[in-house]
């Protein structure tokens, strides 16, 4: 791979603010989500969640459950048929240990302890109720509560490493001014609009699943593992996902149990989690306690940025929220340390949740930076600019691109940041509400995974493109179709786009904000391959105007093939293919990031978020009234969808700052607010004055298309900006999220 790739100049489809291809189907209710499927002979499964966090089940009233008319089967640890794959092991490195009735033990509240299957959902639900479990209860711990935890041995997925650059003790010693603060973030649960679901149907040793999955190929392999069949025997149909946020990338216990029930019954089985059941066996963002020690020299330059994150994980598996890593790669500290510790609790295993690590780490870091700026006597933005990293801190690597300065400048201008008084509590609106302004820097990596795609030119000059890409609602299929159409030089309506099925070429994982870059890269390569092959046919065809163009390059535009740089020589796709025997012509492509490119540069999306909050001076109710985010994220394929993704991330930031928190009963360990009445997320009235700016950025290194990804970065920066604005309004520094009325009352 060359040192720099010349980004493809697109002009026809990419860059256009197209609406979602699936939008109409979704708003009219015709989009078929997994649980909308009702195959003939369907049975319904309902699982019973454990009501304690630790102990064992000593009795289930199976007789009562079985006696309910319509209940066909009650699965418990006593009669659960064997699985071929050990649930205490993992199908692959990118998965978690699942609870599938392997014994009578309970290791977190919400763990499945029985599965009831019935002819109707109502019968299965009543059977599940009547099981009335009795427990032998052991003492449990479900909150971090000041525990020190154990150092994390880095390595496998879920066990983040740390980093240390420069002389950290010297950095502390050199500081003329320093802070040592602890920030806490709570357990948060994904709560996608669509809860986890599966409709499983067996045909001999072949398994068909309707199942929302962010990683189709990997999911096939994982489910195959549990049932001892080849991965090729599993197909997953996944045309729509009602939100994933990281929780739908892995097999979960309830889904495995439903598939097992289908095999046992010899009939298709449907299972859809209730909202309450989302709080336990399908992952969450683990609680963190983060200690940040920052020091500056006389010129307000950071001598040290020392970030230690302690995060909760389960007793039996690892996902330690990599919060401290948010402090890597952002500010130019002389010495830099990030480290992680884990506390084992009687909770379900956490997992990746939108901006895992970056969200919680950025929340703490951006507040700590504000606290440091105050001591430095500098405006928070000036302090960040004073510590702007021109190269990646610690490694000294150049950035593949970094338009963060422009993000700061444009965002600040749009927001009106220059008018901000330094002192807190100085601004009141006409009604006397305290008004505060805060900001935060946004940072997110831009990983690429591996993907494959095919592009087939049909005899009529139209095309079919295929990849197993999935759309979680973010509009991936629209953006990807735009890339595919451009790679073929066709308008959108001449391209049939097929995705969302595991039988298609593997599009990899929709995660890490890398799906558009990765699957898009594969589609781009496939389209280019098809055009190259078409060029070979035309060049060899004496009847084509392109005949004899030899090894010249070809370009495709609006269904015609041109000799590069010579518009006088061109021909329609259909004409070329027609003379070649009217055959379909298929190109194949794949995408991944060359190791050398990844090694040579630091690659990130960047942004700056500015927040205004109003706080009632007596009642301390808080409202975010303006939120301006400026982001530089490489090439923007679809501005409308990008804006929507970034807004969604920023709204998530409001949610993190002010709303979300799972509350465990201190005795039972159960989450007591496991519904959307108790577990708050913002409603429309909480979201106003939201504005997104995208800053132009050419990146010749990240990938051929120059795409960085926008799915998660909006969360980062925003949480800190809001918390800092609350401080600026009230003079009160809350160091625990979410920030609530009682935290601000005198």
């Amino acid at each position: 791979m060359s040192d720099t790739m010349t980004p493809q100049r697109y002009g026809s489809n990419a860059g256009q603010p197209l609406t979602r291809r699936d939008g109409l189907a979704k708003v009219t209710g015709t989009a078929t989500f997994a649980a909308d499927n009702t195959p003939e002979g369907l049975l319904y499964a309902v699982y019973v969640p454990a009501a304690i966090a630790r102990g064992r089940v000593v009795h289930l009233n199976v007789e009562a459950a079985t006696a309910v008319a319509g209940v066909t089967h009650v699965m418990t640890p006593q009669n659960r048929p064997p699985l071929q794959g050990d649930p205490e092991a993992k199908p692959n490195g990118f998965s978690f240990i699942v609870d599938v009735l392997q014994n009578d033990g309970v290791r977190y509240a919400g763990q499945p302890i029985a599965l009831v299957v019935g002819e109707t959902l109502e019968a299965a639900t009543e059977g599940a109720r009547l099981l009335a479990p009795r427990y032998e209860v052991a003492d449990s711990e479900t909150t971090l509560a000041g525990q020190g935890g154990e150092a994390v041995e880095p390595g496998a997925f879920g066990r983040p490493g740390g980093a240390e650059h420069g002389d950290v003790p010297a950095g502390h010693a050199a500081a003329v001014s320093a802070i040592d603060v602890v920030y806490e973030t709570p357990a948060q649960y994904h709560n996608a609009m669509e809860t986890h679901a599966v409709v499983a149907a067996w045909d001999g040793d072949r398994l068909h699943l309707d199942l929302p999955s962010q990683a189709l190929s990997l999911s096939c392999a994982s489910y195959a593992y549990f049932f001892g069949i080849p991965a090729d025997n599993v197909t997953i149909r996944c045309p729509y996902i009602g939100g994933g946020f990281g929780s739908k990338a892995f097999p979960t216990g309830p889904q495995v149990l439903a598939i097992l029930a289908a095999r046992t019954a010899g009939r298709p089985v449907k299972l859809m989690l209730t909202r309450a059941q989302m709080f336990g066996p399908v992952g969450h963002r683990g609680a963190t306690r983060q200690r940040l020690r920052l020091g500056i020299d006389g010129g307000a330059a950071l001598t040290v940025l020392d970030h230690e994150g302690t995060a909760a994980t389960s007793r039996f598996d690892d996902f330690i929220e990599p919060a401290a890593n948010a402090s890597q790669g952002l500010y130019a500290a002389e010495a830099l340390r990030s480290a992680h510790r884990a506390v084992r609790l009687d909770v379900g295993t956490p997992g990746p949740m939108r901006a895992p690590g970056e969200a919680s780490g950025s929340a703490a870091l951006e507040c700590a930076m504000d606290e440091m700026a105050l001591l430095a006597g500098l405006d928070p933005l000036k302090f960040r600019l004073r510590n702007y990293a021109e190269v990646e801190p610690g490694t000294g690597k150049p950035y593949s691109s970094k338009a963060l300065r422009a993000c700061y400048a444009e965002g600040a201008k749009r927001f009106g940041w220059a008018d901000r008084p330094m002192e807190p509590g100085r601004m009141r609106d006409a009604r006397g509400l305290l008004t505060g302004w805060g900001m935060g820097t946004a940072l997110f990596g831009c990983p690429m995974f591996e993907a494959e795609a095919t592009a087939t030119l049909r005899a009529d000059g139209s095309a079919l493109v295929e990849t197993s890409a999935i759309d979680m609602g973010q509009g991936a299929w629209t953006a990807l179709a735009q890339i595919a159409a451009d790679s073929l030089g066709l308008p959108m309506d001449r391209v049939e786009f097929r995705a969302g099925h595991s039988s298609l070429p593997n599009a990899g994982i929709a995660g890490g904000s890398g799906h558009t870059a990765t699957a898009g890269g594969a589609l781009h390569a496939a389209g280019r391959d098809a055009i190259r092959k078409l060029g070979e046919i035309a060049a060899a065809d004496p009847d084509s105007p392109l005949h004899g163009s030899g090894n010249a390059d070809f370009t495709a535009r609006d269904g015609r093939l041109y000799v590069a740089g010579d518009d006088s020589r061109s021909e329609d796709f259909a004409a070329i293919l027609s003379r070649a025997g009217a055959v379909d012509l298929t190109g194949a492509g794949s995408a991944s990031r060359p190791a050398a490119d990844a090694e040579a540069h630091a690659m990130n999306s960047h942004g700056a978020v500015f927040a205004e909050v109003k706080v009632d001076p007596d009642l301390c109710q808080v409202r975010v009234t303006r939120l301006v985010g400026a982001f530089a994220a490489g090439r923007i394929i679809n501005p409308r969808l990008t804006e929507s993704q970034l807004m969604g991330g920023m709204i998530w930031g409001i949610s993190f700052a002010l709303h979300e928190e799972a509350k465990h009963d201190p005795r039972s360990g159960r989450i007591m607010n496991a519904d959307l009445a108790g577990y708050h997320v913002p409603v429309n009235a909480d979201v106003r004055g939201l504005e997104v700016l995208t800053i132009h950025e050419d990146d010749p290194y990240v990938n051929a298309l120059g795409i960085k990804g926008v799915g998660e970065i909006g969360v980062t920066g925003t949480v800190g900006a809001i918390a800092n604005a609350i401080w600026h309004a009230t003079g009160k520094r809350a160091r625990r999220f979410p920030i609530r009325i009682e935290d601000l009352l005198d």
Binding site: H659, N673, G678, H680, V683, N684, A685, D686, I741
Partner: protein
């Protein structure tokens, strides 16, 4: 879910006749159906009263009082222009509750009958004297969830979640009831019961009785020019109150002739202390001792859980509601009714 019989009587008399222990009345169903799905309520018979035309309609009676049928929806009542004009703080309270969809379905009688939102009541695996007498109260020492600072006892520490009932209590609303033994009336202030030793008894309704209407007395209209409801919460909309207050003043010749103050979300019933109201009488509205009145209203408040902060917040909520009432009822319903952010421009109405 548990199977149940579903009956749709054609008259109140028939409804009363089919009732038996284990049967429930179904109005809007916005609370009952959730509780049935969660296994919190397991009726053997659901009596759908939605066909009872006698329970509908908003009418002004000869004595000037207003009679509101039990099945009038929250939205229908709040959107009735005459009602909002005469009883603005009641309309404001209604519009600050739930969402547009829920307000369309929920009924005024159902609002009185709604159960507590305490997480331990709704979790069938927790101990709850209100749900299952004698099992205990896991809310004590548990995660704070809609807990009281007044009027609670060892057996139960929860609150009543209604917004609507708070101004109703302030305005001396009356509940019209029919039962096997005939019709009777209960003052709204006496309708909800403090838990005492029998938290499972939540209202003054006797078994088999049904609410047929609410009545607001004619003199309650006298407060229309100075009446506000204020609701404090961690989310701008679609959340139960953390604290709330309904405040109403009748001003004559520049002084407060009569005052009403009722507090929500701090006890198992709307909390009204007439002695606190009396402290305001005779003062100019802009110089009234709101602080003393609020303090008096919260006399005896103590934490029931990790919720001591609620006492100060409730006091401040009461003061602010009185200040807002003194400033005068706004000409138009604020876009965000009852919100401390009610006056911000650009909000969509009644979110």
């Amino acid at each position: 879910m548990k199977r149940f019989d579903f009956v749709q009587p054609a008259s109140v008399a028939e409804a009363l006749q089919v009732w038996h222990p284990g049967a429930v009345w179904l109005g809007g169903g916005t609370n009952l159906l959730d509780l049935m799905k969660g296994g919190v309520m397991l009726p053997d018979t659901v009596i759908d009263i939605n066909r009872l035309a006698d329970l509908r309609g908003i009418t002004t009676l000869d004595d000037g009082s207003l009679r509101i049928g039990a099945l009038v929806s929250n939205a229908e009542l709040a959107d009735d222009t005459g009602f909002a004009h005469d009883f603005p703080m009641v309309a404001e309270a209604l519009l600050s509750g739930a969402s547009g969809q829920l307000r369309n379905a929920a009924t005024v009688a159902g609002n009185l009958m709604q159960r507590t939102r305490c997480a331990y009541f709704q979790d069938t695996t927790a101990a709850c004297n209100r749900r299952e007498p004698g099992t205990g109260c896991d809310a004590r020492g548990g995660v704070d969830s809609h807990t009281a600072v007044l009027g609670f006892g060892d057996a139960c520490i929860t609150t009543h979640p209604s917004d609507f009932c708070v101004p109703l209590a302030a305005l001396d609303a009356v509940v019209e009831v029919q039962g096997p033994d005939g019709a009777r009336e209960v003052a709204l202030r006496d309708f909800h019961l403090l838990p005492g030793e029998t938290p499972e008894r939540e209202t003054a309704l006797q078994p088999g009785e049904i609410i047929v209407a609410l009545r607001l007395p004619a003199d309650a209209k006298g407060f229309a020019a100075h009446a506000r409801y204020l609701k404090v919460r961690d989310r701008t909309s679609y959340a139960f109150a953390t604290t709330s207050a309904a405040a109403a003043l009748r001003v004559e010749g520049g002084v407060i002739a009569e005052a009403r103050l009722s507090l929500g979300a701090i006890a198992a019933k709307p909390w009204r202390v007439t002695e606190a109201e009396a402290l305001l009488v005779g003062h100019a509205p802009d110089a009234a001792p709101f602080d003393q009145a609020a303090a008096r209203a919260l006399d005896g408040a103590v934490p029931s859980n990790d919720n001591g902060w609620k006492i100060a917040l409730a006091r401040r909520t009461a003061i602010r509601a009185l200040e807002l009432a003194a400033a005068g009822t706004p000409e138009r319903m604020p876009a965000l009714p009852a919100s401390p952010f009610a006056d911000q421009n650009g909000d969509h109405a009644h979110v």
